[in-house]
Amino acid sequence: MTIAPVPILSLQNVSHGYREAGMWREVLCGVDFEVKSGEQLALVGQSGSGKSTLMHLMGALDTPKSGRILFEETDLAVMGEPQRTLWRRQHVGFIYQFFNLIPTLTVIENVLLPLELNGTPESVGRPAALDLLNEVGLVDRADSYPDRLSGGEQQRVAIIRALIHQPCLVLADEPTGNLDAGTGEQVLDLLDRLVRANGHTLILVTHSAEVARRADRIVRLADGRLAAEART
């Protein structure tokens, strides 16, 4: 008998929207799906379909207007901002299209930041950070500032910053959107290798079918609703 992987994240009837110029604009409407532990899920859809909003909600950067987002047994939707921050700090790693490295910190400092926020002293985290940088071929750039690095290099730093504190959940929002095709491929390979090697759960937001095909499962959003779900 095989034990089915437990869902790490469960979205139940999630709706969300914004008030714009006095009018309510619904962005997500009754979204339901689950993400299993260790799974790689691609969230696809056209611009404005609600992908990024959904990612923000899953990363506890925001709370839905209605519905529940369960992380294991905990409902993220009812958490206060300080609790969500602490949860995010511990359990989530983010990767963005525009890298979002801290420009005033060096490469190694950027990588060490999540560890430090989680209470790991710099001296303890440093060997692991250097190992990871070595793995992605950037150990010689450890003391450089991000603006000295190419886009591909910055994204590699962003990936190891997202993984250094061993989060359960890695959320990547168009991680190759700002890179050329070749570099994008390399970055995705790296992300795939590191995520699978460490058993992280990855949710990848993309509008590229090619990128999406790398995931275990694809969830398609259209006009804020779940349009389709498919295994690759």
Partner: protein, 841 residues
């Protein structure tokens, strides 16, 4: 340092100019507070030392009526009461090499160990030479070095406008090491001092050691003739020091004002730095930095900034204090008492407080931006337009708070609360309230300017005005800081102008005679009388129509020691004073028969006296209670003055002497001829006299006035300087923030000159708005200063005089300051290639 701290701190390292300007803003504010404090502390220290030197172990003083104390009283005291621990003193002022020294005549035999500082002077060869050689004096070693004289030198001094030659026979400290407490003191034998000061047979004071000896005190009191007062040394010292309290408080308020403007600068810097770091802060929030951590980080940054600025400010402050010390001492000498400050004292406590003040003000100023930073959303939903939208939503709230603040300010200023602190707090609330209201007013101004620019058809102007509107949250702050600084400048300037006008009018009113002759008051307490029969002799000079007389004395009253002037004006049709609340002409007409006193406004204010109140005066005929019959405007001193008619004085004091004469010339008389004849007749007089024309007195008075306000002008300029740095810093930051917008405009076809023009148009408009907004606030500040602060500080009512040219000049200065501040950002905008701006985004 934590990575979170490093991430934030390095932001400033990447923007060193912004950091420098913020630190400089705090530094200037702290420097002003520290310099004023250090200067005040040094004067206090000098005052305390000089009082200690002159008081020694003495616990009480005996002071007398108009002429002082008869010498015989000292003998009686020693013989009849057996009080051995007592010494006579005569004091006056001596000018030597442009320096004023306090000449103290002391009795070598009585001093012994009573005044420890005089011990060396009362012993050894020097003391013997003081007693046996005429016109011999001792000087403190510190003063001698400062004046470039040494024992054995002849000193050409001036006492009461008369030259004298004295001989320096040694140092007051003897062979002991130089004593700063004796700085500015010249010691001589009492007989020498009496002769030099024209006080033969009279003493200014008898100093006593009574301590808690009640029996001895009773014995002494029993011996005292009418009009002689026994007072405690400590009380007298504190009364003298209290004279300058209001003056110092005003200086402190001015320095705090600069700190307030400096705090705007910090707010500005921190607000910009938060805005510039929105993305960085959002990234940190995504990674798990809590709101509280970010709040702590920004506040820590501000504290660090405040600390750095504070440290720099301490350095500037110590340097500035040396310059200010001279100005403060000069004002104290002009208005209150003669003080020589040789020792510049750096009180560590002042430095600690200054540094702390920098940190506290910086943290308080950064509180708003820090909260803004802590509320940064991790998903960056708030674009620039969102920030501006939030700022615009806050405008009504700010305006509401501003109105409440203005209301509180008006209450504090209008309600007659005791002390000066509520009034100063009122002025600060006025500035703060208006500052909070200014974004709303600015919005109105921008809207109006938008319409005008639309009508004018100039697209660059339209772009400039809209640009300010689009960055209101930041540009508004810079405009508010400049508005406050310009308003303070208008307010202080108008106050000084009003004061000058009131003084000129007052001088016209009181200086009715053509020539004045007076003894120059060589002692601080009483002026020696004029030679007997002088008035009658001078009345015979051809061209002289009438002579008026005055007798200036210090008397004991129920309000304490007071200056009293007994006047005998020859004409009663034109009042000698401008009276408050009553018909001056009527009162002046019955002045000769008045059995009451006229008091100056500062006297009424100081002692809270009103018309009809009784004041008890110890006269030569015993205590007499007299009603206040009139209160007149007077600006000669903030200590106040009592005036009675000569007839009443004669009746109560039986003293026929005069201390001043006013010569009224016939209309056809030639004043120069009269002066020449007057000088000829006065050459025989042994008495040193001051002869001045109406015009000379007026000029000297106005010169003293200008000197008094020199320090205020310096502080006013510094406040504008701090605001200038503020607007420069704001413009630099705005420019940094808008570099992509500028790059897009350049890419679209704007020439470098047009880009620079756009920046200058914006800064010029900001200056114009600040100047215009500053006018009403400036006038309100002027009203508060004229009608409340000055009245409560010094008891002086003035007429507010407002004229258009200084107001227009303030607007022009504001525009020029803004344009100057915008010159560098404009140059930067012109020189930055559009590709750089586009790439940076």
């Amino acid at each position: 340092m934590s990575l979170l701290g490093r991430a934030n701190r390095r932001h400033f390292i990447r923007h060193p100019l912004q950091l420098l300007l913020a630190v400089l803003g705090v530094a200037l504010g702290v420097a002003m507070v520290v310099s004023i404090d250090l200067a005040a502390k040094s004067t206090h220290r000098a005052f305390a030392l000089s009082m200690e030197a002159l008081t020694g172990r003495y616990t009480h003083h005996l002071t007398g009526g108009p002429e002082g104390l008869p010498e015989s009283l000292f003998t009686r005291l020693r013989v009849e009461s057996g009080l051995r621990e007592s010494a006579p003193a005569v004091e006056g002022y001596v000018s030597l090499n442009d320096s004023t020294l306090r000449l103290v005549g002391f009795d070598v035999f009585s001093e012994r160990n009573l005044r420890s500082r005089f011990v060396n002077a009362a012993r050894g060869d020097e003391a013997l030479r003081l007693l046996t050689e005429p016109n011999t004096v001792l000087l403190s070693a510190v003063s001698a070095r400062r004046l470039g004289v040494s024992p054995g030198d002849e000193l050409n001094v001036v006492i009461d406008s008369q030259p004298h030659r004295l001989k320096l026979v040694g140092y007051a400290e003897g062979s002991a090491r130089p004593d700063p407490a004796l700085e500015g003191v010249m010691l001589g034998d009492i007989a020498t001092a009496q002769e030099l000061l024209g006080r033969i047979g009279w003493l200014d004071r008898i100093d006593l050691v009574l301590a808690a000896d009640r029996e001895m005190e009773a014995k002494v009191r029993a011996l005292l003739p009418e009009g002689v007062e026994l007072s405690s040394a400590a009380g007298r010292q504190s009364a003298t020091q209290n004279m300058t309290a209001a003056f110092e408080l005003n200086l402190r308020a001015m320095s705090l004002l600069a700190l307030l403007v400096g705090s705007f600068l910090i707010y500005n810097t921190m607000a910009f730095s938060v805005l510039q770091r929105r993305e960085l802060l959002a990234s940190l929030r995504v990674l798990g930095a809590t709101s509280r951590q970010l709040l702590g980080e920004i506040l820590m940054e501000a504290a660090l900034l405040g600390f750095l600025g504070g440290l720099l400010g301490l350095g500037f402050g110590v340097l500035a204090a040396r310059a200010l010390l001279h100005m403060v001492t000069r004002t104290i000498n002009d208005i209150y008492f003669v003080l020589t400050v040789s020792e510049f004292m750096i009180d560590p406590w002042v430095l600690v407080c200054g540094a702390l003040l920098g940190v506290i003000v910086a943290v308080l100023a950064a509180l708003g931006p820090a909260i803004e930073a802590s509320l940064t959303s991790p998903i960056m939903t708030r674009a620039r337009s969102g920030v501006e939208g939030a700022a615009r939503t806050a405008i009504p709230w700010l305006a509401g708070t501003g109105m409440l603040s203005l209301l509180a300010a008006v209450t504090l200023l209008v309600v007659d609360l005791p002390g000066l602190v509520p009034a100063i707090a009122g002025v600060f609330l006025l500035l703060l309230g208006y500052g909070l209201l200014s974004p709303l007013l600015l919005l109105g101004g921008i809207s109006l300017a938008g319409r005008v620019s639309a009508l004018s058809g100039g697209w660059l102007l339209r772009l400039a005005v809209r640009g300010i509107g689009a960055t209101l949250s930041r540009s508004g702050l810079a405009i508010a800081a400049l508005t406050i600084a310009v308003a303070v400048s208008i307010g202080v300037g108008t106050m000084i102008e009003s004061f000058r006008g009131s003084i000129a009018e007052w001088l016209d009113q009181i200086l009715q005679a053509d020539i004045y002759i007076a003894t120059t008051g060589s002692t601080p307490r009483s002026s020696p009388p004029l030679p007997e029969g002088l008035a009658e002799r001078l009345a015979t000079i051809p061209g002289v129509e009438r002579i008026g007389t005055g007798r200036r004395v210090f008397v004991s009253t129920s309000q304490g020691e007071s200056e009293l002037l007994a006047l005998d004006p020859p004409y009663l049709d034109q009042p000698g004073f401008r009276f408050k609340d009553i018909d001056g002409k009527q009162l002046w007409a019955r002045f000769p028969d008045l059995r009451g006193i006229l008091i100056s406004e500062p006297y009424a204010q100081r002692h809270r006296l009103a018309l009809g109140d009784q004041v008890e005066i110890k006269t030569g005929s015993g205590p007499v209670s007299l009603p206040v019959a009139g209160i007149f405007f007077d600006y000669r001193s903030d200590q106040g003055l009592i005036v009675i008619h000569r007839r009443l004085y004669d009746e109560l004091w039986h003293d026929a002497a005069h201390t001043s004469l006013g010569m009224y010339l016939k209309p056809e008389a030639d004043i120069n001829a009269v002066r020449a004849e007057l000088d000829r007749r006065l050459t025989d007089s042994r008495q040193p006299l001051s002869v001045r024309s109406n015009r000379e007195i007026r000029d000297v008075s106005l010169e003293t006035f200008e000197r008094t306000f020199a320090i205020t002008q310096v502080l006013r300029l510094l406040a504008v300087g701090v605001a200038f740095i503020g607007i420069f810093s704001a413009l630099m930051a705005l420019q940094y923030e808008r570099r992509r917008e500028m790059a897009v405009l350049r890419a679209t076809g704007l020439t470098p000159v047009q880009t620079g023009g756009l920046v200058l148009l914006q800064t010029g408009f900001m200056g114009l708005m600040a100047g215009l907004l500053a006018i009403p606030l400036g006038l309100a500040v002027a009203m508060a200063l004229v009608h409340v602060i000055n009245l409560r500080s010094f008891g002086w009512t003035m007429d507010l005089s407002v004229s258009l040219p200084p107001l227009l000049a303030a607007v022009v200065v504001s525009i020029l300051a803004a344009l100057l501040a915008g010159a560098y950002p404009a140059r930067q905008a012109m020189r930055t290639p559009p590709a750089t701006g586009l790439r940076e985004e």
